[in-house]
C-alpha cells in the first residue's frame, strides 16, 4: 500500500486508517491498509475486481464493522455519532425510489440531510442535466440518467467527505466531466473525497492520492 505525498499536505487530516484489514470467512479481503486523507484532497482507490474497494467504502461509511486495525476521524477514533451527516456515500445501489420522480427522491434526501448553503433543488437538477424530467418516475430514466439523479445529492447535501463507489459507471462523456467538475468544486471547498474507479480519471485539480488495494 502506498500513500504518495500530495500538494495538500498542510491541511487537516480528516480520515486516517492504521493497519486496516477485513476478513471474509478468515480469508483476508484486504489487510494492513494505511492512508491519510486531508481536507481538500482526493483519494483514488485502485485495485482489481474483488480486491475489496467496495468493502472499504462500506467500512468507511460505517455500514460494515471494522475487523482489524483502526480508523480515525479528525484524529479521534471513529465513532458513528461523530461523523454522522459529514459523510456522503454513493454506492452501486443508488438509493433512488423507482416510483418517485428525481425531484421527489431529492426532497426526501434533503428532508433527512438538509440543504448545503446556496443550493436549491431545481438548480441541482439543472446542474446534473435532469431539469426536464421533473415528473418522470425514476424507473423510466436510463441507467446514466439514474446515476445523474443520484449525483444531484452531491450538489445538494452538506457533507465533508464523499465516498463515491464507481461514480463514472454508466455515464457518458459529459457525465464524466460533470463528476470531475463536482469533485473539483468539492475539494476547493476543503472537502475530501474517496473514489473507486476502473476507468482513467482525468482530474484537473492536483494529482490525486493513489491508494492501492491488496490482500
Amino acid at each position: 500500500m502506498t500513500a504518495a505525498p500530495t500538494a495538500a499536505t498542510d491541511n487537516v487530516i480528516l480520515l486516517e486508517t492504521r493497519e486496516l484489514g477485513f476478513y471474509r470467512q478468515d480469508e483476508p479481503v484486504f489487510a494492513s491498509l494505511n492512508f491519510r486523507l486531508r481536507s481538500g484532497e482526493l483519494g483514488l482507490i485502485e485495485g482489481d475486481n474483488g480486491s475489496g474497494k467496495t468493502t472499504l467504502m462500506r467500512i468507511l461509511a460505517g455500514l460494515l464493522h471494522v475487523d482489524e486495525g483502526e480508523l480515525y476521524w479528525h484524529g479521534q477514533p471513529l465513532q458513528r455519532e461523530h461523523c454522522v451527516g459529514e459523510v456522503l456515500f454513493l454506492g452501486h445501489q443508488l438509493g433512488l425510489k423507482a416510483d418517485l420522480s428525481p425531484s421527489e427522491n431529492l426532497q426526501v434526501a434533503v428532508g433527512l440531510h438538509g440543504y448545503r448553503a446556496q443550493t436549491t433543488l431545481s438548480a441541482a437538477l439543472a446542474e446534473v442535466g435532469l431539469s426536464g424530467y421533473d415528473d418522470e418516475p425514476v424507473r423510466r430514466l436510463s441507467a446514466g440518467q439514474k446515476k445523474r439523479a443520484a449525483l444531484a445529492r452531491l450538489v445538494l447535501l452538506p457533507a465533508t467527505l464523499w465516498l463515491l463507489d464507481e461514480p463514472y459507471a454508466n455515464l457518458d462523456r459529459t457525465g464524466i466531466a460533470l463528476v470531475n467538475r463536482l469533485l473539483e468544486e468539492h475539494l476547493a471547498r476543503d472537502g475530501a473525497a474517496l473514489v473507486t474507479s476502473h476507468g482513467a480519471v482525468s482530474f484537473h485539480g492536483g494529482e490525486p492520492q493513489r491508494i492501492r488495494m491488496h490482500a
Binding site: D99, L100, V108, H113, G114
Partner: protein
Amino acid sequence: MSRPGLANACAAMLRRDLTLAWRRRGDIAMPVLYALIVTMLFPFALGPEDTLLQRIAGGVVLVTILLAMLLALDAMFSSDIEDGSLEQLVLAPQPLALMLAVKILAHWLTTALPLIVISPLLAGMLHLPTAVMPVLVLALLLSTPMLSLLGAILVALTAGTRRSGMLLALMLLPLCVPVVIFAAGAVAASQQGLPWLAPIAWLGAALVLLLVLAPLACAAALRIALDA
C-alpha cells in the same frame, strides 16, 4: 449548512412512503379483498346459521385481518434494501429508530387502516350485533399496530434471507397469540354484556411497550442485516 429538524425528517419520510403507496394503490386493495373473500367463505363452509356465525364473528374477523396484514408485511423493508434507500437512511444524520417508526406508521396507515375501515362490514356479514361493533373496531385499532410493530422486528431480522415470507409467518403467528386472545376476549365480553375494558386496557399497555421497544429492535436488526 443547515441540519433539518426531526419533524421535517419525519414528515419527509412519511410523505415518501405514503406517496409510494399511493402510486401502487392496487397493492393497498389486495389485503382488503383478501379479507373480504376469506370472511365470505365462513358462511359457505359452516352454513348460514345466525347463532353459530354470531358466536365466531369476532374471532374470525380478527384472525382474517391478522392474516391479511401478514400478506403485506414482508414488503415493509425489502424494496428499501434492494434499491439502497435503507443504506442512505442508515447514514442520514437522523435517529434510525425514529425514521423506522415513521416507516412502520406509514405501513400501518396503508395496510391496517383500510382493513379496520371495512371490519364492520366483515363483522356484519357474520351477523355480529351492531352494539359490539365499536368494541371490535377499538380492539382492532389497538391490536393492528402491535402486529405491524412485531412484524417489523421480524421483517428486519429476516431481511437479507431469501424466501422470507413463509418464515415470517411461522415466526410472527405464535407471537400474535396474546394479542388475539385479548382482542377476541374484549369482543366476546362485550357480546355477553360483560365489562370489556380490562382486555382493551391490556392491549393498550402492550402497545405502548411495543411502540417504545420495536423501533429500537428494528434499527439494531437492520444495521446487522446491512453489515454482511
